[in-house]
Symmetry: C2
Subunit: 461 residues, 2 copies
């Protein structure tokens, strides 16, 4: 085993204790990013303090997009490059780790560590090694980002200049694919809200970046490569695609209805359709906005909170508790109401393990968000009557869920947070980034065989 190349040995470690390796890896990346952002070379004016540098580094690494700075003006090109690199490494990192973990666990939740590694290295009739999977992920990601950057460049170059348009095109393509939501413009993409090509390119990048590598591979093999033309899509891919489509459509319709006379009112009718659709695509985890979040109606902000909580698909760059988690629980609830003993969908039965994992992830996430909201309300508002802090509840609630779901939308209060509030939000971005995956992992490890106690019903409802 001493001849194993470095890369493979890393993978072995990753697979042996994936939670610890992911947490350490992300923490290290954030620490390095913080140090780099504190350099005088990063800031356009005075250097960043440690709290703000840590906040920005965490936000970039966790591909969240919440920002206490206007990065297009207050950071130098060097500082922006640090952000871009953190986004790229953070985005690819989470994509890689979660994909490998899923491939490793697929259908064999009780193998011991050693066996899993051996098994994973020869996954799929000995053809797919960890190295080949990593290579495929990187190749796919870079190809999509390059294509996106090229499209953005060709669209914006005529107006912005052939030289000046290149860098923003690359930055925004990476930011979109990684679902990071960082933009070089102070108002995100409000200025492009009626530009169908820019919106379309960003939207496609966001959707592909948020659907997950497993689904991409599955769709490619079934419809494009033709390797598995006769096989059906996996249940996971079907659920992920269906849930995403439903959420995007429902969200767009709801935003259209709820914002028609508010933030959409100044746009043309096709413009309203485009803006509602883009905002729906972007709000579950990407975090770009073409509408002014700070002026939206209460009902829209509340719906976006739920969308941000749900988030993207697992094994992607996106955050949240994940579409398939909510889809699985919905299938369980609906199947039971329809009188089926087990959760069924698409002529398949969901495993009990999937449902109990989903329950764990949602319960833990709800508890974390609830506690954070309460802590922030105490720290930011000082425990005074809600009548003297009207409107702050919704703003802090929105900010908290945005951080947890690594979305990055904000009503505009990020840079008004106290240092304690900034650190709390930074911690939540980290927890929101790795928490659901780590919980998913923790509940997938070898299950303890103990005395089985007698079963007993309790009253429900």
């Amino acid at each position: 085993m001493d001849n194993t190349p470095m890369r493979t040995r890393l993978s072995v470690h990753l697979l042996r204790s994936p939670a610890r390796m992911s947490i350490l890896g992300f923490a290290l990346l954030i620490a390095v990013g913080t140090a780099l952002l504190m350099l005088p070379a990063s800031a356009a004016e005075s250097p960043l303090g440690v709290v703000d540098a840590l906040f920005m580094s965490t936000s970039a690494t966790c591909v969240t997009g919440l920002s206490v700075l206007d990065i297009g003006r207050q950071l130098t090109l060097f500082g922006q490059m640090v952000i871009l690199l953190l986004i790229q490494l953070g985005g690819l990192g989470i994509l890689t780790v979660s994909t490998l973990l899923f491939m490793m666990m697929k259908g064999r939740p009780t193998l011991s560590g050693q066996a899993i590694i051996k098994d994973t290295f020869t996954y799929g009739e000995g053809k797919q090694t960890v190295t080949s999977v990593l290579r495929a992920i990187f190749a796919t990601a870079f190809a999509i980002e390059a294509a996106g950057a090229l499209c953005l460049y060709l669209r914006t170059a005529p107006s912005e200049g052939w030289r000046q348009a290149a860098y923003p095109a690359v930055f925004h393509a990476v930011s979109a694919f990684c679902n990071a939501g960082f933009a070089l413009y102070r108002d995100s993409f409000v200025g492009y809200r009626e530009d169908w090509i820019v919106n379309g390119v960003l939207g496609v990048l966001i959707v592909i970046g948020g659907i997950g590598f497993v689904v991409i591979t599955d769709v490619k093999n079934r419809f494009i490569g033709g390797r598995d033309r006769l096989k059906r899509l996996s249940l996971h891919s079907r659920l992920a695609l269906t849930a995403s489509a439903i959420l995007i459509l429902l969200g767009a319709l709801a935003i259209l209805f709820m914002e028609w006379n508010n933030t959409l009112s100044t746009l043309s009718v096709p413009g309203r359709l485009l803006a509602a659709l883009f905002q729906s695509v972007s709000s579950r985890t990407a975090g770009f906005n073409t509408l002014n979040t700070g002026l939206m109606a209460n009902e829209t902000l509340f719906m976006l909170c739920i969308f941000m909580f749900i988030g993207a698909c697992p094994g992607s760059c996106g955050g949240g508790v994940k579409t398939t988690t909510i889809a699985g629980l919905s299938v369980a609830a609906i199947s039971r109401l329809r009188g089926f003993r087990r959760p069924q969908v698409f002529r398949r039965t969901l495993t009990e393990a999937s449902i109990s994992k989903a329950t764990s992830v949602v319960m833990m996430s709800a508890v974390v968000i609830t506690l954070t909201v309460m802590v922030l309300m105490v720290s930011e508002l000082g425990g005074i009557s809600h009548t003297r802090t009207q409107g702050r509840f919704l703003e802090l609630f929105f900010e908290t869920i945005s951080a947890f779901g690594t979305v990055g939308l904000s009503t505009g209060i990020t840079d008004t947070l106290t240092p304690f509030g900034r650190l709390t939000i930074a911690a939540l971005m980290f927890i929101g980034r790795l928490g659901p995956m780590v919980i998913g992992l923790a509940v997938s490890r070898e299950l303890i065989s103990r005395i089985q106690f007698a079963e007993e019903n309790i009253m429900i409802g």
Copy 2:
């Protein structure tokens, strides 16, 4: 069967299609109550309009306590008696129905209707018939209410007068045991906030009324009657008692901490302890208040929203998704995280049916509340920017969950709702009252045997 007494035939119907019978029964009671409250004899000034009469009748029948009137002043004694009767019938109704249904389903979720009825009539070695269970429920409820009324009377008579104190004592004892939360005083029990006896009596009535008849019987047989002195408490009773104790303690501590310098600030230190404890006991479903809800801090209101969502124990007069529902899901999440294959607690294993029922109830409730909040924000605020309606989100969110959980706490906006808003809240009280139980029933009916599809995992988190 034609000789079966009326009472028994009703029970047979109830057991054959319990959901339909419960819904019809409550709807009928609300309709009669609405008609009575619209009579000129009910109102102290001009007669109530249909919307307000319907709202008040629904609120009383569903033992919610939200009110668009000051019932102590704007209703006549006759009108108040109508409210009291609706509370008593609604409270006993839900207590009876849910207890019978649990006894009927206990451990036999797949028997057919006829068999269940036969089985239930001879539940527990042929001793407990439906009639005997009903008799026991009524006897217990009236005994507790009478004892509570007597205590309240003896306490308040010296100051209020031996004649005047009788009626309020009866009204408030019934309102407390039924977890209705209606009070004859405009400010609920704020005037008694440092009265340990009044708070104690109300608190005990609320807890007993909210713990459920099954638990009461279980505890009595185990500790008092001695019939089952050697048997352990059922898993249901243990979970219900533990969850209630934890929620009461945690809630009191949190309120103490969060309101110390706010609504508690004018009280003595023992007074603060009492008020925090009473508010914690009352907030999950009873809805009395000794602190001014309208002046609480954001974090307290948010925590109360979660408490109101959880609610009381099933088979009681209380509302919400129920303590055991949340306890069951928590046990499932924690067991899984600790590496157990099945949800285990108190040396027992929770059935898969309990967990999937709990998932259905929570998912459906969350969807209903979410949609109602959004509808109310559109109807009450008119879809304008949240910056122009600051503070309204939290107030409407709180009001909605209060209605769903049949709690009755309010920040004070109930009588400012539009007629559409009042009807929506009334509908939600009805849904919140029967919904979780009906869902629990629906998912307990005979399960369809169909082709079992192959199992497949999905990615979670």
